[in-house]
């Protein structure tokens, strides 16, 4: 009977999902969180396969891991660059004229 094995697999998968989810949300290091998030996405793809949703699994694998992860990583890099002071200079950035016009709301 395949049923108990499958249930065991389900429980393991669910616990791993929860564990990953909790860790990615609570680690101090954002980079680590993003990496955990990518693996979380891959595990989700596995879950979708288990739930007999191959379409969703394909989309999750491609989008969740293949795109959201890089998106987060590039945003993280961009933010770190800001923190380090190597800010990119835009020609369309605010020149502070609106600052002059509006004092801080009280």
């Amino acid at each position: 009977m395949i049923y108990p094995i499958l249930t065991l697999f389900d429980i393991l998968l669910a616990l791993t999902l929860l564990w990953l989810g909790w860790h990615l949300l609570s680690t101090e290091d954002i980079f680590k969180a993003v990496v955990l998030f990518i693996s979380f996405g891959l595990l989700m793809a596995l879950t979708w396969v288990r739930m007999r949703a191959p379409d969703v699994a394909l989309a999750e694998a491609a989008l969740g891991a293949g795109l959201t992860g890089p998106l987060f990583l590039s945003a993280l890099r961009r933010m770190n660059r800001v923190l380090k002071g190597e800010r990119r200079l835009d020609s369309d950035e605010n020149r502070g004229e609106d600052h002059a016009k509006n004092p801080k709301p009280t």
Partner: protein, 111 residues
């Protein structure tokens, strides 16, 4: 049935964890991650609802279509939120940077 329940609960707990993190943590990236985890939780419940074990009939495809739609929506919103967060970060440091690099900003303002 038990599978549906198990995965539904997992999804619900993921939703709760995301909600908690979204409100409590202040880092913008963390907030966006939290929203993603929340949405994954919701999708998991929906897919688990549609699940029927092998050999007991077809899986309901409508929730699958809904989740596909939802995943794409959540990716696009995530991307927008990330870019917005970067811009917030960049411009909120602007005042600080201005004091440090006065000549640069002066040059910049000639455009």
């Amino acid at each position: 049935m038990i599978t549906t329940l198990l995965y539904s609960m997992t999804g619900l707990i993921l939703f709760g964890m995301g909600l908690f993190t979204l409100i409590v943590h202040s880092h913008p990236l963390r907030k966006i991650l939290a929203v993603n985890v929340m949405s994954t939780g919701v999708f998991l419940i929906l897919i688990a609802t549609a699940y029927t074990p092998l050999g007991q009939g077809e899986v309901d495809p409508v929730p699958h279509a809904m989740v596909l739609t939802g995943i794409v929506v959540s990716v696009s919103v995530t991307a927008l939120a990330l870019i917005l967060a970067c811009r917030v970060q960049e411009t909120s440091n602007l005042d600080l940077l201005k004091k440090k690099t006065v000549p640069e900003t002066a040059k910049e303002s000639t455009t």
